[in-house]
Symmetry: C2
Subunit: 170 residues, 2 copies
């Protein structure tokens, strides 16, 4: 099988968002063991001018959601960014995974040269589908996923590289 | 043009390792402005049991290097992991970029189903080329690149998302 625009995107998002759910489970267990309210995690930041934990998960989800919606030209579900508990963040992960799995792979195939326009504060920019996936979507997605993981490590949650990667299998 | 095993890997590594070099330039300027020795960055960690800055850059480089070497079945250059200054870390980035650019794209094409064996502490594991790239190489690579960026942000270096992504272009 050849690598494709779908195979190079959706399985990566699904795997990492599922892993993120497992980190939240471990974070909740850590909070229980240490007797603190897990809501504390949601406002942690790596630097005062970086976005907090909740936004990191929201943006990882949106990175995957908009990538699939824009490449496949389907409407993305709207999320209200109101998550205030670990349970609500888990639901955000679940809904995002459900959406990206629901889009038929065929809708993403052959989108390498499709024009994709990204809204930005500095003004919209248009990229070809493959450049969009490689140089915008994947770096952004992994940025927010890794920052989520780093915030939990910084908070003392016992996570390791195998938690980051998930089970290594075909 | 269809996405391929080469197009889905080497251009991502090159772009992000070049971006990493620019972060080091900004880190050096920040150290000069604040009058501290930039060698201080090299031992920073996000958590006491996470590897420090120097290792994050070494591992980002090695992630890219070994991915290309294993998929293309060429010998990887050996690096001694002795970097002790920002200049030496820049040289590691440069040498890694030079190596991965030197391997002909054709050697990576069609490696989706090739067996790739990864040495691990828990014992070697064999993956198909595409699964190796998507679920091991890219997450690992972005983990170390993002952690490098996060450590600099944590140290007060003025970096933003556009520094992380680099210039957005085709």
């Amino acid at each position: 099988m050849s690598i494709t625009m779908h195979s190079a995107s959706v399985p990566i998002f699904v795997r990492m968002l599922e892993n993120c759910g497992h980190w939240l489970d471990k974070a909740e267990a850590h909070a229980q063991a240490k007797k603190f309210d897990p809501v504390v995690y949601l406002s942690t930041r790596l630097a005062p001018d970086m976005l907090p934990f909740t936004n990191q998960i929201q943006m990882a989800c949106d990175g995957a959601k908009f990538a699939v919606a824009r490449l496949a030209a389907v409407e993305a579900p709207k999320f209200d960014d109101t998550e205030a508990t670990l349970a609500e963040l888990r639901e955000r992960l679940r809904a995002t995974i459900a959406f990206i799995k629901s889009v038929p792979a065929a809708k993403l195939e052959g989108t390498e040269d499709k024009d994709v326009t990204i809204p930005r504060r500095a003004g919209p920019v248009t990229l070809k589908g493959e450049a969009y996936l490689k140089h915008f979507v994947l770096p952004n997605f992994f940025f927010h996923v890794t920052t989520t993981y780093a915030l939990l490590r910084h908070s003392g949650v016992e996570l390791g590289k195998m938690d980051f990667l998930g089970a290594i299998q075909q």
